[in-house]
C-alpha cells in the first residue's frame, strides 16, 4: 500500500525524472505481463529532443542508416513543416528490434510518458514479438547490426567507386523498393546429398508404380517440345521480386552493386510487415495502453486528474473526422484497429443475437485469448475481412463509393445496413491489400540469345493503368541496373497487351 502511495505521488506529478520513468516501466511492464499476458522483447527507452526525433523520422525509424540524399530531403521537408507549425511530432517512435528501441519525446508530460510506455513498450513491442508477419519476415535480433554493416559498406563503396556512382545505384534501388519484397518464402536450396536422396526415392516410387499403360498415352500438350525455344525460356517462373531478380541475374553487374541491391532489398523486406499491419499494429497498441491505463487507475496508481489527461490524449488519438470534414484525410488506423479489437472483446463477453450469427467462434470465449490469437495470426486485410463486425461498421457509419473512370458520377456502393455489411467489409479489406496500391509487375522473360533484353509484365487489375511518366522514369532506373534494354507490357485480364514502355 505504501508503495502505491509513493508511485501515485510520482505519477501525478506533471514533471518526470529518471525514477519516474523507471517506476512507470516497472508497473506498466508488470501489468502488461500479468493482466494482458504480453510477451515482449526487453525494452530500451530513449529520451530524445525534437531535433533528434526529426533525425529519427528522416531515417524512417532506424537508429542508423546508409547515407543518401533521400533521407536529407525527408529531413528538410519535415523540418520545414515542423518549424512552420504545420506538423506536430509524434510522442514516440518505436523500432522493431531486440531489444525494442523506443524514442520518447522529452517534452511529454508524465501522463504522456506513461501512455507512451504502455503504447509502445508494451503494445507495439508485443506486436513485433508475436505477429507472424514480423516473425516470418524480419529478424529483430540483427536489424540494428545489419544497418551498421549497410552504412559501413556503402561508405566504403563511396570511397572506392565515387559518391555519384553509389548514388545512382541507390536511386535505382529505391525506385524499385516496393518491388523488392518477398511475399512468399522461396524454397531453400537442398544439399547435393539431399538431392541424391530425393532422386533415389523418386526413382523407387516410379519403379513401384510402373504401369505399361502409361506409355500408350499421347504426350502432354503443356510440356514444351524438346529443342524448342520455349524450353529454354528464362526465367521458368515469373519473378515478382524485381530487385532480387536483378541482383541474381543481371548479366553484367559488378559484385558491389549487387551487394547494394541486396541491402536495399533487406530494408524493404524489413518494412514490409509494417506496411501490411498498420491498422492492427496501431489498433493493438492503443487497445493495450487503454487497458493498462485503466488497470493502473483501478489499482490506485493514478488519480482522477491523471485519467482526465489520459482520456483527452486517448480520444485525440482516436479522432476520426467524417468524410465531409475539412480535417478528413482517410481512415484513422488507430480508430479502426482499436474499434475492431474492442469489439472482439465485447463479442466474447456480451454477445448479441447478431454476433452469434456473425462470429459463432468468438461467443463465450476468453477475450484475452482471442485477442492474442488475432494479434498473432493476421495482417490488415485478413484481419478486417475476418473481424470487422456489423456493429463497428454501424458505429463508424462506413460506406463505400464506387469511382468508375467511365462514369460521370460516383455511386454509393454499400452503406451500414444488412445488405451492405459484407460488401463494406470486403471492400475495406481490399483497400488494405497490398495489390490495390502497388501495381502487380513481374519479371517474365529475358532474351538470352540476342539482346539480353529484360521483359516485365504488368497485370492490370480493375482497369487501373500505370502512370506513364513515373513508369518510364522507373524503367530507366531498371535499365541502368540491368545494363541492357528493358520492356514493360501492361496486360489486361485476357492477356492482351494494352500499352508498352520500352527503354533501349
Amino acid at each position: 500500500m505504501k508503495d502505491i502511495d509513493k508511485y501515485r505521488a510520482m505519477f501525478t506529478n506533471p514533471n518526470w525524472d529518471y525514477d519516474t520513468l523507471e517506476a512507470a516501466d516497472q508497473v506498466i511492464g508488470r501489468i502488461g505481463r500479468e493482466y494482458l499476458k504480453l510477451k515482449t522483447y526487453p525494452n530500451q527507452i530513449e529520451i530524445v529532443t525534437s531535433e533528434q526525433m526529426l533525425d529519427a523520422y528522416a531515417l524512417t525509424g532506424l537508429p542508423t542508416s546508409y547515407p543518401h540524399w533521400k533521407f536529407g530531403k525527408d529531413f528538410v521537408l519535415n523540418q520545414n513543416n515542423y518549424t512552420k507549425g504545420r506538423m506536430g511530432l509524434s510522442y514516440e517512435l518505436v523500432i522493431n528490434s531486440n531489444p525494442c528501441i523506443s524514442y520518447n519525446m522529452e517534452n511529454n508530460s508524465t501522463c504522456m510518458m506513461l501512455l507512451v510506455i504502455a503504447h509502445a513498450c508494451q503494445g507495439h513491442n508485443a506486436f513485433f514479438a508475436n505477429n507472424y508477419m514480423f516473425l516470418d519476415w524480419t529478424s529483430a535480433d540483427s536489424i540494428v547490426d545489419y544497418m551498421v554493416f549497410a552504412r559501413d559498406y556503402i561508405l566504403k563503396c563511396e570511397e572506392e567507386f565515387g559518391e555519384e556512382e553509389v548514388e545512382k545505384v541507390l536511386d535505382a534501388c529505391h525506385a524499385l523498393m516496393n518491388h523488392g519484397v518477398d511475399k512468399y518464402k522461396k524454397p531453400s536450396k537442398i544439399s547435393a546429398m539431399q538431392e541424391n536422396e530425393r532422386l533415389k526415392r523418386l526413382t523407387a516410387i516410379k519403379r513401384e508404380n510402373y504401369n505399361e499403360l502409361w506409355r500408350t498415352l499421347p504426350p502432354s500438350a503443356d510440356l514444351p517440345e524438346p529443342g524448342s525455344k520455349e524450353e529454354h525460356r528464362f526465367p521458368k517462373e515469373p519473378e515478382e521480386n524485381i530487385l532480387y531478380f536483378i541482383e541474381k541475374y543481371a548479366p553484367a553487374l559488378p559484385v558491389w552493386k549487387r551487394e547494394i541491391i541486396r541491402i536495399v532489398r533487406k530494408v524493404a523486406q524489413y518494412f514490409y510487415p509494417q506496411g501490411a499491419t498498420k491498422v492492427m499494429n496501431e489498433g493493438f497498441a492503443t487497445f493495450t495502453h487503454y487497458h493498462i491505463m485503466n488497470k493502473m487507475f483501478e489499482e490506485g496508481y493514478v488519480n482522477d486528474g491523471f485519467m482526465l489527461e489520459f482520456i483527452k490524449s486517448h480520444s485525440g488519438v482516436l479522432y476520426q473526422p467524417e468524410y465531409n470534414s475539412k480535417y478528413y484525410s482517410g481512415l484513422n488506423p488507430y480508430t479502426l484497429g482499436f474499434n475492431i479489437f474492442m469489439d472482439i472483446k465485447r463479442i466474447c463477453q456480451e454477445p448479441t443475437a447478431e454476433d452469434r450469427e456473425w462470429f459463432p467462434n468468438l461467443v463465450g470465449k476468453d477475450w484475452l485469448e482471442q485477442v492474442h490469437y488475432v494479434m498473432e495470426n493476421f495482417r490488415d486485410d485478413s484481419f478486417i475481412l475476418q473481424y470487422l463486425s456489423p456493429k463497428v461498421i454501424r458505429d463508424m457509419r462506413l460506406f463505400t463509393i464506387v469511382d468508375n473512370e467511365l462514369e460521370t458520377t460516383y455511386e454509393i456502393g454499400a452503406i451500414h445496413n444488412e445488405r451492405g455489411y459484407r460488401k463494406v467489409r470486403e471492400q475495406l479489406s481490399n483497400q488494405y491489400d497490398r495489390s490495390s496500391y502497388i501495381p502487380n509487375i513481374q519479371a517474365t522473360k529475358v532474351d538470352l540469345y540476342k539482346t539480353s533484353k529484360l521483359y516485365l509484365t504488368h497485370t492490370i487489375q480493375s482497369d487501373r493503368r500505370l502512370e506513364a511518366e513515373t513508369a518510364r522514369a522507373t524503367l530507366k532506373h531498371i535499365r541502368y541496373l540491368w545494363g541492357f534494354p528493358v520492356e514493360l507490357h501492361s496486360k489486361n485480364k485476357l492477356g492482351i497487351n494494352e500499352s508498352t514502355f520500352e527503354i533501349k
Binding site: V76, G330, E467
Partner: protein, 423 residues
Amino acid sequence: MSHIVDRRKNDKGKSTGNRQKFLKRVESQIKKAIPDILSQESIKDSKTGGSVKVPVRGLDEPAFRHDPKTGKKQIVKPGNDRYNEGDRVPKPKAGGGGGGRGKGSNSPETSEDEFTVVLSREEFLQYFFDDLALPKMVKKLMDSTETFEMKRAGYTRDSVPSRLNVKTSFQQSLGRRLALKGVFDKKLQLLEEQLALITDPEERVGLELEIEKVKRQANTIPFFEDIDLRYNNFERVPVPVTSAVMFCIMDVSASMGYHEKDIAKRFFTLLYIFLTRLYKNVELVFIRHHTEAKEVTEEEFFNSRESGGTVVAPSLKLMDKIMRERYDENWNIYCCQASDGDVWSKEDAKECKNLVLETILPAIQYMAYIEINNKNRESDLWQAYNRISNDEDFSIRHINEVYEIWPVFQGLFRKRNDSDSGR
C-alpha cells in the same frame, strides 16, 4: 529488464550529412534561383542574418504507380450521414477527379515535389559567392595586407629593464644563493669541528680568525647578480589584416534617377556582403558628389536627392584624403564607383583618370567602376577609364537593368585560374 537512456545530450546532427547530399543534389537549382532572389531584393534579408528560402522542384522519386484517373475504384469512408445504397453523386469537375482524395495516409498522390529549402546565411553566401574571389587576393595578402603582432615567447637573458620578469629572476637568484651559501656552510662546519678539537690557544685564535673570514664571505653573496636576471621575450608574429574599408562613390546629380540609384545600391550591397565574408570587420565610407563631393551617412547616401551638374574629380580627391587620414597600410581598401557617366568636361574625366592611376590604385586593393546607362553611348568618363582598366585591380562595367547586376558581379569576381592567384 528495460533500459532507460537519456539521449538528449547526444548529437542532433545525425541528418547533417544527408542534408548536405540533398543540397548538393539541388545545387544547380539553388544557383539558378540566385538571380531571382537578387532581383526580389531579399538580399537585404540575408544581410541581416536569418535564412533564405529557395524553392526546389522536380525531386520526386519515381516508382511504379497506378494512374489515379484510371480504372474502377471503391473507397470506404466513415461518417455516412445522408447516402443510401445506389445513390449517385456528381464528380467534382476540376482538380484531378478526386480519385486519390480518399485514400488517406497511403495516398501516393500527396504532392511534395515543390517545397522550399531553408538555407542558413552561411550556406546561402556559400552558394552565392561560390566560384568568386577578389582579384589578386592571395598575392595582396602575402605582400601587404599583413601586419605584425608581438607575442610572448618565453624568457631571455638580455633585454631592456622594462621587460624584467621579477618572479623568474628571483627564482634564479634564490637558487644561486642557496648553492653558494652551501659551500661556505660546509667550510664553516669543518672549521668549527676543528676548533672544538684544538686546545692550543694560538692555533685557536688563527682558526677563529679564519671562521670570522668565512662568515664574512658568506654574508657577501649578492642578492641579485647579472646572471640571475630574466626578461620577458617577445616575438614578431605576422597576422593577416582582418579589416577592410569600402569606399562607395556615387553620382547624385540630377541625371541619376531612382532606377540608377537602385541599381547602384544593389551593387554596393552585393560588394559589401562579399567583403564581409572575407574580412572580419568591414567599414563603409559613403561619398556622394554632384559639383562638390561630401562624405555622408548611408541613409543620406541612398535617399536624399540633389541636383546640379557633375564634377567627379573632387570625390576622388576626398576619398584620397580620407584614406590617408584614417586608413593606414593595415587596412584593405576597396573602392566602388557608380555613375551614369556624365561629366562636366573632358578635363574632369582626364583628371579622374590621372587620380585613379597615380594616387588611388597604388594604395588600394581593387576598384570597380559601374556605369549605369545604355551601352550604345560611351561617356567621357567611360572612355577615360577604359584606357587604364586592366581587370586586375581596376575594372569597369556597364549595367542597365536589375537582372544584369548578378552576371556583371560574377564577371568581375570570377575566380582566376590557379597559376594567377597562386603567384
